[in-house]
Each structure stands twice: as C-alpha cells, then as structure tokens.
C-alpha cells in the first residue's frame, strides 16, 4: 500500500510537469457558461489520459467549486482515472449479466496475459486494465472494450488476438502517432460558419458536413476531418466519377470554385481552415486530389 502510493506519487509528479495552466484554462473557457463539471473533467481526461492533481486544483480554483466536490466527482465515476493510464485501455465488464456469462474468467485471462491486476498499468505503460459494472450491452456479454472498440461474447481464446490487435492499433489512421495525419477544423468561405458536425463522428473526430447536389438529387456529405483520411459518408449514395456541387449547410451558398483539379480537371472546392489557410478538395467522387495551403 505504502509502496504503491509512493509510486503513484512519483508518477503524478513526472506527469504533472506536462500539465500547463494554459491548457486547462482553454478547456475551462470552452466549457464556460455550460456549468458542467463532468464535461470539464471529461475533456481534461481526454487531453491528458487521466485527471492530474494539479488540473483538479485549477478546476476547483477557477470554477469556485470546493476541491472536495471536484475530487468527489472525479473519484465517483469509473470513467475518470486519477492515475496515468497506459496507451491502451482495456475495460472488461463484470456486471451481473457479464458475470454469469463468464466475465470473471475473461478478467483472469486478461490479468494473466498482461501480468497485472485489474486497475493496474503494465510497467511498459502499454496497457491499463480496468473493470466496469455494466456497459448496457448485457445481451452481448461478456463485453470487453479496448480503446473504445467494443467486443462482444468474448472468449478466453480470443483474448491474445485482441491484445495483439490493440498493440498494433485498431485502425492504422491513428492521429497523433502518424505526423501526416491530423485533424483540421474548416468553415464556409462565404459565411465563415464552421462546417464541423460534432453529432456525427468519423475516425473518432467531428465530421465536416456539407450539403451536396448532383443530377437533380441532393443530400449531405460528411467527410473525415483528418487530413490524409479519405473516409466519408453520404446520403444519398453518390456514384463514382459524379461531379457534385457543394453548398454550405448554413448560408446555403454554393462553395465557389476558383481552380480546376490538376488530375481530372473537375472544379476544386475551397474551405477555410481555422487557424489560417485554405483546403481545396476535388469535387469528383473517387478523385482524391486535395491541396492544403496554410498561411
């Protein structure tokens, strides 16, 4: 117990160096007026992977909540962690339904393969193993969640494969690891309204929503905001090689084309990038030409 505490303190101190006041203030500013402590903590956790002591102290200070309350909330919810977590988070459900469907054996197997107990992080900081008490998918139990990916009816024999997959990364397009892939935030060049749609995520990020029209049909198109990812979703389906026209969903103005695609000579459609710059994408479905001009 004592030794444990010593280690975690040390970890806290190392990690705390990275916690800068500015980052926390930015999050607080964003959440200002919405009044949700949980939303603030969630965002801090998303940023740092856990809730650093220093961050909680800043939050309590700035939001005029007592530290006891902030700490109480932070320790109440399982999704918050006060200790730094490993790169991959493995969450095994041990709720009632999953329990009767064999969750204890799954947890045992995970513990054995990772060489840690539930609630701990491996020495190489690769994996953190946690248990939760019901993920609301009881019929699919036992449920294991690895890095946000849900696995149902998990069997002991499947675990080593799942851990391997997690080690490799579930989708190759992992922003942050690959420098060429990063999220951008775009807005309409006419009304300057943001085109980001937080309600619809692609690649785990808010998507870029644009209205499209082609061949007497119209609908919407949502693009991944990861520069370098070609994932998208449309309604209705757009046939390959169709050239579509893009409209801002807010001001309804057609995004004006200023140049043609160097590869297929369809019009290139520009969007403003927050922070300065223009990204242009080819309006022909299937053509992957795009250009990014940062100012």
């Amino acid at each position: 117990m004592e030794a444990n505490r010593a280690i975690s303190n040390e970890e806290n101190i190392c990690a705390e160096k990275e916690v800068d006041l500015k980052g926390i203030l930015r999050i607080l500013e964003k959440q200002e007026g919405r009044g949700g402590l949980i939303a603030i903590l969630e965002e801090i956790q998303a940023e740092y992977g856990y809730l650093p002591e220093k961050a909680l102290r800043i939050v309590s200070d700035r939001t005029r909540r007592s530290l006891v309350d902030v700490y109480g909330v932070a320790t109440f919810y399982r999704s918050f962690s006060l200790k730094p977590r490993g790169k991959n988070l493995v969450c095994a459900c041990v709720g009632t339904a999953c329990h009767v469907r064999g969750a204890p054996r799954i947890v045992e197997e995970l513990e054995q393969q990772l060489g840690i107990k539930a609630g701990e992080t491996t020495a190489d900081k690769e994996f953190t193993l946690e248990t939760v008490n019901c993920l609301g998918a009881c019929a699919l139990g036992p449920v294991v969640v690895i890095d946000g990916h849900y696995f149902s009816k998990v069997r002991k024999s499947r675990i080593s494969q799942l851990l391997d997959e997690a080690r490799r990364g579930f989708d190759k397009a992992q922003p942050g690891k690959d420098k060429r892939i990063f999220p951008i935030d775009v807005s309409c060049p006419h009304c300057n309204h943001s085109l980001m749609d937080e309600t619809f995520a692609i690649d785990g990020y808010p998507s870029i929503k644009i209205n499209v029209s082609f061949d007497h049909a119209d609908g919407w198109l949502r693009l991944s905001c990861l520069y370098g990812s070609y994932n998208f979703s449309t309604e209705p389906d757009i046939g390959v090689d169709t050239v579509v026209r893009f409209h801002c969903p807010h001001c309804r103005v057609e995004l004006p084309s200023t140049s043609d695609c160097s590869m297929c000579s369809a019009p290139m459609v520009p969007m403003l990038v927050r922070g300065g710059g223009i990204v242009q994408i080819c309006s022909r479905r299937g053509c992957r030409n795009h250009m990014l001009d940062l100012l």
């Binding site: 002591e53 909680l56 007592s66 530290l67 006891v68 309350d69 902030v70 700490y71 109480g72 320790t75 109440f76």
Partner: protein, 229 residues
Amino acid sequence: MITLRINGLDVSVEEGTTLLEAARFFGFPIPTLCYMEGLSPYGACRLCVVEIGEGPSAKLVSSCTYPAEEGLKVRTASARVLRARRMVLELLLASCPQSKTIQDLASAHDIRQQRFRQEYEDCILCGLCVRMCEEQMMAKAIGFRNRGEKRDIGTPFDVQSDVCRLCGGCIYVCPACQLRCTYTEPEKAICGGCANLIPPCLEKEQFDDMMCYMNPCVACEIDKKFEKK
C-alpha cells in the same frame, strides 16, 4: 398550516416541517443517528423510519427527510416500523460494533444479538462529519470519495487540507468514533478527548499507528510531529 395524524392524534404543523420534527414536537420519540439539529437532514441511516399511509399502500419512509403532508397518517411505532428499526440496528451493529452510540441504541431496542457477518468498520458513512464541516464550519475540508464499497470520507488526495480549521467538529459529531484515543501505546491512553477513528482532516502517513489525526490533538495538545523526534 398542515394537518396530519400522528399515531392517531390530529396535529397541525408549519409547512415544511419534517415528520421527525413534527413527531418529536408532539412527544413521539423517534430514534435517529444521522440526524442532527442544525445540519441538513441526510437520510443515510434509516433508523428514523416511520410508516405512512394505510392498508396495502402503507410504506416506510425516513421521517427526517419526509415533509409533513396534508391528511397524512403516520405511525411512529407500529410493529412493522419496530421490525425495520431493529433490522437497521442489527446491520449497524454488524458494521461498527464498537460505537457506543450504536450500542446504546441497540440496547434501548432490546437487541442482544445480530445475525449478519461481523465487520469492524471505522465509519458508517452517516455523513455527519461532512455536513458539520460544510454547514457549520464553512470549511468543506472533507467529503465523500469513491463509491460503492470503496466509499469513504477524507480530504482530496489524502493530504492535509488547507481549508481545514482544525476545529474538531467532525470528530465531535461522529457516532462511530467512540473508542478512546490510544495514542501510540494503548496503555498510556488517558484523555479520550479526540476519541475518533476516521477523522478525516489530516494527512495520514505520520499517524499510522494512531487512531487520531488531529495535530496537535485538540484535547491533549500533544504535537505529534514534535513527538516524533
């Protein structure tokens, strides 16, 4: 004014009065543990149960949190209420048998034995200390942490709180803390002034062998850091 019937007696009380206050005012005793005048009612211990309503819709509620309602029929000592209360006391005895307060309550209810697995918890999570600290001392130095079976009372991050006033209020109200202060050597225990087990306001490390974390002790004024040398 609200008119209600307590144990067959028609009484009227101010709006906003709780059943507990009303019953006590008219002379019907109800035992309580987590209730204290001057602190907001919390409804944690369920010792103050009373029966309301009639026939099959009659139900048990905690009187310290239930507001008086027009025409309500309340029984403070029906067989059902007494049975429930005894059960609550047995459970309390099972978790914290060393508490004098709980022992006294149990003996007043003629309980000689409890039928659950015996534990020796330091804290029954009644929340009195937390409310004391917040509502009377305006400090908010301690609070509930974690949840489920890990729920406990303490300061954030387990370090000495910089807003604690060292008033000892939390210790004073705690019903679980009736063991005497044993300092580091039980036979030298003399004062019993602090008399607590999970007193939440100070850092725990240096007080490992002690029951009490007040520093300096409010009663004996021994400065423990100084004693260590």
